[in-house]
Amino acid sequence: MQTALLIEQILNGLQFGVMLFLMAAGLTLIFGVMGLINLAHGSLYMVGAFACAAVAAATGSFWLGLAASLVAAAAAGAIIEVSVIRRLYDRDHLDQVLATFALILIFSEGTRWIFGSFPLYLDIPPLLRGAVPLPGGSAYPAYRLAIIAVGIAVAIGLYLLISRTRLGMRIRAGESDREMIAALGVDIRTLYTVVFALGAALAGLAGALVGALQSVQVGMGEPVLILAFVVIVIGGIGSIKGALVGAVLVGLIDTLGRFLLPMALAGFMDASSAAGIGAALASMLIYVFMALVLAIRPQGLFSAQR
């Protein structure tokens, strides 16, 4: 019985990890590969979720909503890139921090302006509602399995895009020396707009997919932002593989931590305080883990450069 639960929790951890990767995927592209600190990633995630919820409510189809989330987030991304980000590539990273911080404010309040102050309804599509039986007699929600599948597909797709295609090489080249890649005849401005929009679309996709499991509300992107950065940094900036591994590690550690720590503590204190202290420790756990990883490997687990 206990082992069955443990196995289920490990599965949950994996699942949570892949979900984290999905949330971080767009950021991996924009931040890890283009080298742009985009604090507004969470806002794009929110845009995706809201677009999906609104369209799904209007049309009754989750799938149309999903498409809308891609379109809306990509459009928002392209607009941001052309009107703001583009002017900041040759500036200090800090200017990007301030600008994208400002974008968070604008997006959050803008979304509330359009959609009101109350959370929106977004449910998973009927097709994916049930549970899938797993070997060993247990079952797992189909929707979560679908998220795992999408996460892994995105990971593979991104990996191929970045490391195998000429487009990917040019993006990476642009990250280290925009001037030089332009001098070789690559229209890096347009390329970056496209890539930024793609990253935004991925954020939006994650927002829609994960939003169906969570709550679609203003501010939903903020915790995502921090987690996504944590995942990418642990994995090593610029490495898709690293981001995936980092995400799964964080997912496992977080899930198992909040499950096992209170149980372990219950050995030598009363249940109620064990639950409280265990939970407190568990909430610090991923940050402890990140600090440890970076203290030992200052470049993350799989840094793309050397």
């Binding site: 949950n12 929106l120 929707y143 969570q214 909040r258």
Partner: protein
């Protein structure tokens, strides 16, 4: 005499829904009263304690308000209230009721028009006991209101606990907790997860197929978020001091006029805002706000028609009131709550005795 009210509430970010409801309920009452002597200044605290303190300072020192109100969150209330009431201003809480302000740090100028934080959880505990649950799994986020919630529940729940779990504040994925609930062999689930946490949990819980009766305080099933939870909430029992079907004239009028004014159903937060305003209006009709003692006495008397029916203050200026059990139902295609019973009658909070006032 003119009364100047300063409303500090949350109008931006994820918690804005609650602030908007409190404000709308409040302003509705002011509008209906036709009283032009009452001036309200409203500002957004963005859920930041230090910003709330700054706004309070501004309202006290610059706007010279007589009464402060509006704060939604306990931590913001703890930041603002002690200083405000010590300076002689009245504070009327339309939502938060942290235990220190009900007990050891109670104050003559502080009135709570909603509930002490533990109240609805206590009622849930009482309801769980009366429903005959023997093994309840209880869960709340790991912060003071969360611990208070579980303490409150346990105060009135007499059975065994199948498990006690504190989640991370702001967590959005509950697969791990749901697995624990499934494995615990519980016969019912009690949880307190305010705001988005509750929405996420209920959706995931419903999808997980774990079939347990669910009890909770009204916060995760109030009108403002039921729409977002969807059918997942159907049938859930929740405890509240207010419901839109409480049978009295004032309440009927309130629900109708609120819907007419804002195009949506009121939540319990709106009712609390509405009551708070009516309390002020009633007191202002009896005494001048400049005469602190008289005004305080007028507030304390609470001679207004509450939408919850009977309403009176205990010695610590916290309400003594009935707390109902509601069930989430569907009316047409709108999700809402229906009263199915009374959990606690004339309930008073547990800290009143610590209050030396």
């Amino acid at each position: 005499d003119p009364v100047k009210v300063g409303m500090i509430t949350t109008l931006s970010g994820g918690g804005a829904g609650l602030g908007v409801d409190v404000r709308d309920g409040f302003m509705l009452a002011i509008k209906q009263s036709g009283n032009t002597e009452i001036e309200v200044v409203t500002e957004d605290d963005a859920m930041k304690p230090d910003l709330a303190v700054q706004i309070a300072d501004k309202m006290l020192q610059s706007d010279k308000v007589d009464i402060l109100t509006g704060i939604i969150w306990s931590n913001l209330a703890m930041a603002v209230v002690p200083n405000a009431v010590n300076q002689g201003t009245f504070y009327l809480s339309p939502n938060a009721g942290p235990s220190p302000l009900a007990g050891a740090n109670c104050h003559a100028n502080y009135f709570n028009v909603a509930w002490q934080n533990d109240n609805l959880h206590e009622a849930a505990g009482a309801y769980a006991t009366s429903s005959g649950y023997k093994k309840v799994f209880i869960m709340a986020p790991n912060y003071p209101a969360g611990t208070d919630a579980l303490t409150g529940f346990k105060r009135f729940y007499k059975g065994e606990l199948a498990g006690e779990v504190y989640t991370k504040l702001g967590a959005t994925d509950y697969a791990a907790e749901i697995a624990q609930i499934r494995a615990s062999g519980a016969d019912a689930l009690f949880f307190f997860l305010p705001g988005g946490m509750g929405i996420a949990f209920m959706k995931q819980f419903a999808q997980s197929g774990v079939d347990l009766p669910v009890v909770g305080p009204a916060f995760s099933f109030s009108q403002d978020i039921l729409g977002a939870v969807g059918d997942a909430a159907l049938g859930v029992k929740n405890t509240s001091q207010w419901s839109k079907d409480i049978d009295n004239e004032a309440n009927k009028a309130f629900v109708e006029s609120f819907q007419a004014e804002y195009g949506r159903l009121p939540s319990l937060y709106a009712s609390q805002g509405f009551d708070t305003a009516n309390l002020i209006l009633a007191a202002a009709a009896k005494a001048s706000v400049k005469d602190k003692d008289a005004f305080r006495a007028a507030l304390k008397a609470a001679e207004f028609t509450s939408v919850r029916g009977d309403f009176k203050f205990g010695p610590n200026h916290h309400p003594i009131q009935d707390i109902y059990v509601r069930e989430v139902v569907k009316e047409g295609d709108v999700l809402t709550n229906k009263i199915v019973g009374v959990a606690l009658e004339d309930h008073q909070d547990a800290y009143a005795s610590e209050c030396k006032m």
